[in-house]
Symmetry: C2
Subunit: 341 residues, 2 copies
């Protein structure tokens, strides 16, 4: 295991990614080593590459929507076998002994190790993760499209599981992008009535094809008013400031505004709207391993996969540009094409 690993790395802020090789140390007892086949490209990759969340620890080898095959198992790795197809998402490990880890909510562990910060991610020949964070991919899923489920998918699926959303509920999805389009598909498969909110008229037809029952223009007051008081959950998948007052007004009694996009400024929430209708505002990060397994099984059963565009990994800088320009429809997947050593 002392071969050098090829990868694409950001060496500093504001530069294109460049070829970079590194060496793994000895495989940890709980670690799994995976040969990367496909890796989704997520907005969070850009955020870390560009040091948007504070200075990133360069070199950054991003990529945290990995699909690949197990090529090495640490001596304590459990539940996996060599050659198995697996996925790795936002987290590469967690402490395993804090209260949330003990409770099975490892995604809330304060010392969880992200796959792409202080750890080399999936824009590489190989990637390593704790066995718990290495999820088997069900046979029924198209491996070339499954990567984005490991981060984008679980991020929008987790609220359905953990905030008691029922098939009888009416769900709104704000933003039809990498996360939002998966949210529409999952909401539809969950059995919900689905309202898509978008500021982009060009996405209307596609949203309907993905499963939305109606599309509301989030920048048109009359359109917004048409859904006041109607929704049980509004899932915010964008990270821009919104008209929180109007969005809260779309909620029914007991309704929930749920954010998964890190909106930069504080959200202005009126106490009266929370109190009068017994409403909530909440948020969540990705999901636990158990929830990832549940999501992958559900996605396979219902045929939920992202709408993807594919680039060879050698064209990763073109792919990053495509995403930065807001042109991705709706998720970019990179295909590993490193030259054989």
């Amino acid at each position: 295991m002392s071969t050098r690993i090829q990868s694409w790395a950001a060496m500093a802020k504001g530069q294109p990614l460049s070829p970079y090789t590194f060496e793994f140390g000895p495989l940890g007892a709980d670690e799994v080593e995976v040969v990367v086949e496909h890796c989704g490209l997520c907005h969070s990759d850009l955020s870390v590459i560009d040091s948007e969340w504070g200075e990133s620890p360069y070199p950054v080898v991003a990529g945290h929507e990995v699909i690949g095959r197990v090529v090495a198992l640490g001596e304590h790795a459990q539940g996996l076998k060599l050659g198995q197809r697996v996925g790795i998402g936002w987290n590469a490990s967690s402490c395993m002994h804090c209260q949330v880890c003990l409770g099975g909510e490892h995604q809330l562990c304060r010392t969880a190790q992200p796959t792409i910060m202080g750890h080399h991610g999936g824009f590489a020949e190989r990637v390593r993760a704790h066995w718990l964070w290495t999820a088997p991919v069900p046979e029924g899923l198209d491996a070339a499209k499954a990567g984005p489920l490991l981060c984008g998918g679980i991020t929008v699926f987790s609220p359905f599981l953990n905030f008691d959303i029922k098939p009888t509920h009416r769900v709104g999805v704000v933003g039809i992008g990498g996360l939002g389009h998966l949210a529409i598909k999952f909401a539809k498969a969950w059995g919900c009535e689905v309202t898509a909110f978008t500021s982009s008229e060009s996405k209307r037809d596609e949203a309907m094809q993905m499963g939305a029952h109606r599309v509301v223009s989030s920048v048109d007051t009359a359109s917004m008013k048409s859904v006041f008081g109607q929704l049980d959950m509004v899932l915010v998948t964008v990270n821009v400031m919104l008209n929180w007052k109007d969005l809260m007004r779309t909620l029914r009694p007991n309704g929930r505004l749920h954010v998964v996009g890190v909106v930069p400024q504080p959200m202005a929430i009126e106490a009266g709207v929370l109190i009068g209708g017994q409403r909530s505002v909440s948020g969540s990060p990705t999901g636990s391993r158990q929830d990832i397994d549940t999501m992958l099984e559900f996605a396979a059963r219902h045929g939920v996969v992202p709408q993807t565009e594919h680039f060879p990994m050698s064209r990763i800088n073109d792919a990053l540009e495509h995403l930065r320009a807001g042109k991705a429809r709706y998720r970019v997947v990179l295909e590993a094409d490193f030259a054989q050593a």
Copy 2:
């Protein structure tokens, strides 16, 4: 039933209450008439008397924490009998046929009739309400102290019932006043670890006697920091702007900031804190009839009653002054002393 009813009414904004008589119309088929024995004095009474929530429909006969005895039953009134001791709280009726009413959450009915707006409340000889909103008072409760449970009590109790608070949880209560001191007692009886937040050092000892395990100064940074990351629910019973950022920081993963006080300006809530720890901000109004019954039974079993000060109703203006001056420790109850007609 055509006798004139004596009461104390606000005839206009900014004036002391004055004696006022009015006549009831025919008793509605679903209505119950109650002779008032005791009536708690709530901050919401002041808000309506003073037109704080928009111009009130004067004359205002406030009072919505009523304890009394049934003296007349409409022909369709159910579950009550003449002479029975009952309580009436914030709502006097609701539509009974909307989705939330059908679901038993009548307190969320958009057309619910408040007891003290467009309806005469408990600062009177008699008050009327729909039979559903007229709750039997269990034998074990001290009737002279039970009134404040009908609004203040259910308002702080409802979140425990409806937001899945467990006896193993750590609960914070912000504000030790009419609502807050009942919240401390209920949280203690619920089995929780209880942290009281106050800006008033003078209330520290009393908070501990009421059942708090610790008292934190909400205006002292070091004191606040001592509980960062520790609480499952923080119940905000005040209606003033707070340091939301620090309060959110006191929450554990999956924690909830819950408001029952109508804070006047929008609350600034950071998406990152919601997302990182899968946290929520929520609110609720009083409670359903079923929840009121559950609360009264729980209060009787655990001996939870407010700490009260008693005024004869003829001194209602002194009582209002006492409350306005922030001197109430912790809930004022008025004793009906109208002259026999």
